[in-house]
Symmetry: D2
Subunit: 350 residues, 4 copies
């Protein structure tokens, strides 16, 4: 089968690889009809993720059709249309029992990381009962593939950890795909205002069209000042950090109201300065979270009921044969005005 293979930093190739086979009785093999590229894939490409080794097929997002099923899979059959979750979970360990599936002792984020992933014609899904979701016929592939990773991430790590509620003033720092996913999902909880902060005017324009009520370009270093002015110096109820840098975390600390929530979503490469000399007295709550993807069934219902337009996160569409080009576009997102790019596996559909 065709598959996108990692061969060390800046070295990807679309190659022929053997089709995966069932290893455990709880596995399923899925024929991929659509996949997409995640910001994390770009980190892998740069060599930032040491668990990904030479020869690994990348990708942790996808939809497809079940091609083969292990003997102990209960909930699925060959031919079922399924959504693939980025998270592999055994459903049995202590972390799974706390719904911390991302920390599953027998799983976690494995696809396209420690095991072969979804940017291929077929993928093996361990613990299929816990890693797949049946796709209703009225949910199309493009909406569904946004539920593999990006929307659960924005929702769980941003909106839910930030405890967004009706009437809140929410600030989201970073208008990339994950920040936009936080923006879309925050609206499920009806905040009064959502202020989007980014360096890029195009992304801010997109954010506005996605429901941001205010946008702030932070390139002049005065974002925090401007948010405080917008809130009559009260600060925001929820600040969602969706970048992963010291500077963006600083903005969150500067604008959070007493009693507020800072929800970190960004992947940080370095420690940050935390202003406990001021915040010790502010009754704040700061959270971090890996996406557990336990919100996927809810998101699926929201998409199905027409209340969440997941597809609007997609800016570009490619075929699997063009995946290197897709990486190139996605890797130059600002210049290319790229949000999420999806990859169709045309051969799988026919």
């Amino acid at each position: 089968m065709k598959a996108l293979v990692f061969h060390g930093p800046d070295n990807l190739a679309l190659e022929d690889k053997p089709k995966p086979a069932i290893i455990q009785a709880t596995d399923a093999i899925v024929r991929i009809t659509m996949t997409t590229i995640c910001g994390t894939d770009l980190h892998i490409l740069k060599g930032d993720v040491p668990t990904v080794t030479d020869g690994r097929i990348l990708g942790h997002e996808g939809v497809g059709i079940i091609d083969e099923i292990g003997d102990d899979v209960i909930g699925f059959h060959k031919g079922d249309k399924v959504l693939i979750s980025l998270i592999t979970s055994c459903g049995r360990c202590n972390f799974c029992k706390k719904a911390m599936y991302s920390h599953c002792l027998n799983g976690g984020w494995q696809l396209g990381n420690s095991i072969d992933g979804t940017q291929a014609e077929y993928v093996r899904i361990p613990f299929a009962d816990n890693g797949l979701y049946l796709l209703p016929p009225d949910v199309d592939d493009e909406a569904a593939v946004m539920l593999s990773c990006i929307l659960p991430t924005g929702l769980e790590c941003g909106t839910l950890k930030g405890q967004v509620k009706p009437g809140d003033i929410v600030a989201i720092v970073g208008a990339g795909p994950v920040g936009l996913a936080a923006l879309l999902t925050a609206q499920l909880y009806s905040p009064a205002e959502i202020v989007m902060i980014d360096l890029d005017d195009y992304r801010l324009e997109v954010a506005r069209s996605f429901g941001a009520t205010q946008v702030v370009n932070s390139s002049d270093g005065k974002a925090a000042e401007r948010v405080m002015a917008l809130t009559q110096a009260a600060g925001v109820d929820v600040a969602i950090e969706a970048v992963g840098l010291s500077a963006t975390f600083e903005i969150c600390q500067a604008i959070i109201a007493p009693g507020g929530h800072i929800a970190n979503v960004g992947v940080h490469g370095k420690s940050v300065e935390f202003h406990l000399e001021r915040l010790w007295a502010s009754n704040i709550t700061l959270t971090t979270r890996l996406v557990d993807a336990d919100s996927t069934p809810m998101l699926l219902r929201m998409v199905q009921s027409g209340r969440l337009d997941a597809k609007k996160l997609i800016s570009h569409r490619f075929e699997l044969s063009e995946i290197l080009k897709a990486y190139n576009i996605f890797g130059n997102a600002a210049k290319e005005h790229a949000l999420k790019v999806v990859i169709n596996n045309v051969s799988a559909i026919e």
Copy 2:
């Protein structure tokens, strides 16, 4: 009346001051029968609290008898025995309506700070209905005065923000009065283990007698290592920071389990390094809080029912005439083996 007056750094005097009078119809005047000294009073004494100015009567803890009552006070009468809360709250502003009384727009921590306090024969209590609690006859002064500040602080900022629950492993960094208050109140939620960490063996011994199941002397810099060994490398469910230093906050970050809670209680003078490069993926929750003292009624019921032995926090007893000596003992707590020191106003009792 006699009162302890602040005259700038390291300059306290027991002086004659005029007896306070009702200013607002919601005020009460309380004749103090017992007060105590807080770690914050020592900070004031060093000049660390700029809101406290020359001439201020110190003290924000106390019990006493109502001497005079404003026309709009509903719940109290002259002669009532009362507990004084450190927090003044109007009960009407947005923060009060969220039970964030410490941030009350018309109050907050004022006693012995921006208005005269309780280390005196009499004190004026603004918004008396919200700042006083009727003392049942079966609760003695010594137990009650521990509920003015130290026990609500340990409970609210440590135990409650840390979400201590049955079966948890809890670590408390700092075995001073506030750490010990966290230790006593954490036990209301039945953790399986409480590990106490401090530099001082005497305090650790006290902690053990107060219910700590493990104690770790951190003077060799290996506290985190030792806690990880005690937990078979799993880390702790709750880490309570009760010191206010970079080094103690580091311990909390090093020992927190995925999904765990770090509750900051300590007053920090400087920013700290926050290890988001590791913790971004740990699903942790970090909280800060000023004590709001909304837990006081519950603590009073616990004391009254005999389930919380508040008095054991007290190590020394003085009369008001000896208050400068009491400050001296409390200011050399380690050497003097001092925990809380209480000050009786003998004249008030007679």
Copy 3:
């Protein structure tokens, strides 16, 4: 001044009464610019509310302008435009401290009940700081007056107690004003489906235009059956009872899914049969609540931000001189296609 006065069952009169005066220093006098009629006023009119005695001015909803202010009112000034909450609360008692303002020991629902109300040119508001909300200039009277009682009731007793959340299937039994208020506020939490159940096709049509995704006319006694069919026999996540009868409570019990929430909003005159022989094993939660009106500030922010169209609950508009006619229309709501009717006090506005 003109005021609507109750003189026993079925006996209302628009009379001249003395203008109210400040009694306590925490009172305010408000010149009413708009009021409205509540279903509860109809119960009073029938003689069902024994606390309402001969001579009482009715009404617990209204907006107006502060005419006079007591000495201890902190947050308001003469001339301020304000929203009047149905709930009077002292902000000091145990119930107030638990945010159970409806059970305030010094207040609760008093206006138009145990003290004179808002269907008049002026009203005295006790504990004004806790019973009034400053109206921003961009919120008009008609939207605001819906926040005095009906929207907080639907939100607090229905939506919040029912714990409506994204993706839920919600059923609301009763499409009168309070059911419609539940319908509008449930949408703040993005349920996937809202099924509205009523006997009246017009009201169901209104419900659909307000956002119900399914409507069920229950006049054939098969509402429960139909809801179970709509949910593929799974039942609903939340059932909101907004009528107050045995039959409507039965529907809720018949359609609730395991793990679901039944939120009772209706005022019941009789006990009901509760099917514990079946529901003991269903992990359900059943709640009751008097409106506490602590959600009013949030609702005000939602109205102000344009995310809640409160005015659409209004079907008819009258002047104070026509208030008896307004009662007549509202008392024949089904026939008159009446939802909420508002009463303008034209003289107050000029």
Copy 4:
């Protein structure tokens, strides 16, 4: 092997049955070392549980040693000492993902009900990874077997659903094993008072020795009156119904304070009268729950840390050969002063 077999109402026999074998790769076979009898077993014996058919081996509680293990069991090995949970759960279905294991679509309460149970020398445990818990060497069988059903039931359905918290006044109606389990576990959350209500003075005496602060014999029909007197007419914060009768549910309704929680634990055979004509205005929460047994790991930690003395629920001890006698004693609990009776399988131990 020896096994206790049900042959219709009032017809039990200790018989030779074939040793069970692995059916699914996720099964385990456990050699039982200790079991116990549940009140539910007595209901089965009376013929009240139609899912239990002729030939069924009874029992859903037990500890033992793993004798055989399916290929897909991850967490256990032959020879492991284990605790058996009454609940079988797949860990994959929608209910399992909501931690409603009792409603598992592929499990639930099956042992000694729809599949053979634990009152035998061996038992087959489906989905062994989710139905067994490794027993630490320092937890003895008698303590452990109390965690199969009775303690999780009292904790989850009573204490947790009732939201018992420090300072609360809790009433428990029914001092049988499940009421006593609620009593023991309620204390993990430090209520100020626990009032135990029962018809039997011996059981009330036991309750007092287990930590009840007040006991009320309800045989004169004045229990509610007496509880109201004990609480100065305020009522209780939490009422736990641990009987399953109309009369006991009435007591709960009569004594619940505004804002209180009624947690139903009892198995009800008939509907009850629910006083919505009064309680609609009381802001109460009423819950029902089947035990999900997700609290078992926490209870195990509490037992292991010495903070929960589970063994004191045991009044009688028998060998497997005496199990019919054990049923007889347990079936006449009041007369025999029986609480929980345990059954040792001596042959298994040797």
